[in-house]
């Protein structure tokens, strides 16, 4: 049980390539923190720095109120689950799980007890005599988890642990990881590029981009109030629609010159980006019921029915937008569709991508 604190953590490769640019994150004891971002954003590097597999160029990493910058991975009392599981192929499942305990000189009977307990928890008992190559992907994943939990570490680190599994198994394992983490109450850091995994698992969500933190917060807070256009387009599926606008004093002008009425919406002179979630749009609603709402006229490019809902792809002001409609949509390609963005669902970002309204 431990807290994890990153203060101004930096990583520079060679002399100039800055992979992580001054990251500050505080993770409370028992919380699950998810680092999410596109590939190359520095999230894995950051995780490896916490693990001690990568040197820290600047700043401090503290685990349980102890600075661990100069400690080796073994001395930090962490356990890591790798993307490719990193199971020792020449050892049986039992030995894979016992390896870390043996290295720490634990008595045999105690090792046996711990391994069997962990195997029980993860339903691996019948597989203890198998070798990793005789296991399925999900079972290997479980063994990797087992290897982490037998050690009873202060912190769990997960490096995209589900990305090698098929979609169905991934959903199932996601729930299992969440439950296990809750049950054990071990502070965890979880890296993923999958926003759905990030949203569902996180207690604290950290959205990273180009080596820096874009936003930290509870998943739903981030979803409801993205701090930048990057976060807005990364969190949520389909992502938030973003439309560039400028203002001429009494209305908004879209990229292609179309004017739309917008009362009481203050847009800076150099222009702005308005954002709205596909699910927040009101289709064919009465204009008057949404005073101050923004009315858009979409040219429909296509409709994708996915069962419970349909995605209507349209174009407005030369930019593509998506509308999420419950059930079937009556719209056809080539039609036009009037949608209203309720005032309170409208996100406004500056030209630099930073959020303007609150």
């Amino acid at each position: 049980m431990a807290s994890v604190e990153l203060t101004d953590v930096r990583k520079v490769y060679g002399s100039s390539v800055e992979a992580v640019k001054g990251v500050n994150i505080a993770i409370e004891d028992g919380a699950l923190c998810v680092l999410v971002g596109p590939s190359g954003c520095g999230k894995s590097t950051l995780l490896r720095m916490i693990a001690g597999l990568e040197s820290i160029t600047g700043g401090t990493v503290r685990i349980d109120d102890r600075t661990v910058n100069d400690l080796g991975p073994a001395e930090r009392d962490i356990a890591m689950v790798f993307q490719n599981y990193a199971l020792y192929p020449h050892m049986k499942v039992y030995d894979n799980m016992a390896y870390g305990l043996r290295n720490r000189g634990m008595p045999k009977d105690q090792i046996d007890k711990r391994v069997r307990e962990a195997a029980q928890t993860l339903e691996l008992t019948h597989l203890l005599d198998r070798r990793p190559r005789e296991l399925s992907g999900g079972q290997r994943q479980r063994v990797a988890m087992g290897r982490a939990i037998v050690r009873n570490p202060k912190v769990f680190l997960f490096d995209e642990p589900l990305s090698n599994l098929d979609a169905k198994l991934r959903g199932q394992m996601r729930v299992e990881i969440k439950n296990l983490q809750r049950q054990l109450g071990v502070t965890s850091v979880y890296v993923t590029h999958d926003q759905l995994e990030a949203m569902t698992l996180a207690d604290i969500l950290v959205v990273m981009n180009a080596g820096a933190v874009e936003q930290i917060g509870a998943p739903l807070d981030i979803y409801e109030k993205p701090a930048s256009t990057f976060v807005a387009s990364f969190i949520g599926a389909p992502p938030m629609n973003l439309v560039h606008v400028t203002s001429d004093g009494n209305g908004l002008i879209l990229n292609d010159g179309t004017k739309i009425g917008a009362t009481g919406l203050a847009v800076p002179g150099e222009g702005a980006v308005i954002g709205f979630r596909p699910e927040d749009l009101e289709v064919a609603a009465d204009e008057k019921s949404h005073a101050g709402g923004l009315v858009l006229e979409l040219g429909i490019l296509g409709v994708e029915p996915v069962g419970a809902e349909s995605y209507v792809y349209g174009i407005v002001g030369g930019e593509r937008v998506v509308v999420r409609v419950a059930g079937r949509s009556a719209s056809q390609t080539g039609d036009s569709l009037r949608v209203i963005i309720p005032r309170e669902k409208l996100h406004l970002f500056g030209k630099d991508g930073k959020r303007l309204n609150d």
């Binding site: 597999l53 890591m80 990193a86 192929p89 020449h90 290295n103």
Partner: protein, 296 residues
């Protein structure tokens, strides 16, 4: 699976035609000489080569009762075990070190692979020039420390010298395979072991070495065969089998008895025995050692 992806040729003759060059080489350079040796081994020729006589297993009986032959067998065992062990151990050490180098990895590797391109006889000459007691540069250094270095008279030193020369020549080859073997071990396994609290030494012996087993096994077979057969040139150049018969290995004795002493029947019998030994050794290695090998 295999049968469904099998290539079928429209022409019945074509596959045989494509195999022909390889078959021809194997037949001309292996089966034919081997059959000649087997034939020769049951014959006895008179000193002038005018008459041959069938003697059955007579040659074999004589060879196996010859104390010189038994001595040669012992020399071969010592020489092969020492050569294979030293060549593999040093190559593994170098490969592990080269794997750790960050800058100039390629240069180190290239330089370490070079000795493999040196012909055995030339390698032998190099070692001879370096360690010849009367003119060798390094021999001079050794003698200047007060140690009586004389591989021309001391059989133990002669053995050390040929083993060193033979092992040195094979290190490059082993190095190449160990480097490739090390590269195929996923980095994350080493990292996982580090997190699991294994120190560098422990990581090597519990993770890296077992995972290198397929490579090590393959090299064991190759090195044994090398020590048995391919070291002829080195021994011939460095010691000529001497002093006395201290470095006369089986293959060297085959040559000596056949081409120097012209006892063709005995020589042929010896080469047949040698063939049987190597076939047996390889079979044993595959049967027993391979069981303990993990193919990832």
């Amino acid at each position: 699976m295999a049968s469904s992806t099998r290539v079928t040729f429209p022409n019945k003759l074509l596959p045989y035609l494509l195999l022909a060059p390889q078959l021809a080489i194997t037949i001309i350079f292996f089966y034919w000489p081997a059959s000649q040796a087997i034939q020769q081994s049951v014959l006895r020729e008179d000193p002038f080569g005018l008459a041959t006589q069938f003697v059955g297993l007579g040659n074999f009986k004589r060879v196996l009762n010859d104390p010189n032959y038994l001595n040669s067998l012992q020399v071969t065992v010592v020489f092969s075990v020492a050569t294979a062990l030293i060549a593999m151990a040093l190559a593994l050490l170098l490969a592990v070190m080269a794997d750790k180098v960050v800058r100039g990895k390629g240069i180190y590797r290239t330089l370490l692979i070079w000795p493999y391109a040196v012909a055995p006889a030339i390698a032998g000459m190099l070692w001879l020039f370096l360690f010849n007691p009367s003119m060798g540069t390094l021999a001079y250094l050794i003698r200047s420390t007060g140690y009586n270095w004389d591989p021309l008279l001391d059989s133990g030193q002669a053995m050390v010298l040929v083993v060193a020369a033979a092992a040195w020549k094979q290190i490059s080859y082993n190095f190449l395979f160990f480097v490739a073997g090390l590269q195929s071990i996923p980095k994350s396994l080493i990292e996982a072991a580090a997190i699991d609290g294994a120190g560098e030494n422990k990581r090597f012996w519990t993770i890296i070495f077992p995972l290198l087993a397929p490579t090590t096994f393959f090299l064991l077979v190759v090195n044994t065969v090398y020590a048995f057969f391919d070291t002829f040139g080195i021994i011939h150049a460095v010691t000529g089998g001497g002093p006395g018969k201290a470095t006369e290995t089986l293959v060297y004795k085959v040559y000596n008895d056949g081409f120097v002493n012209l006892i063709l029947g005995d020589s042929a019998a010896q080469s047949v025995i040698l063939m049987v030994i190597v076939i047996a050794l390889t079979a044993i290695q595959f049967r027993y050692v391979e069981r303990k090998v993990h193919y990832g």
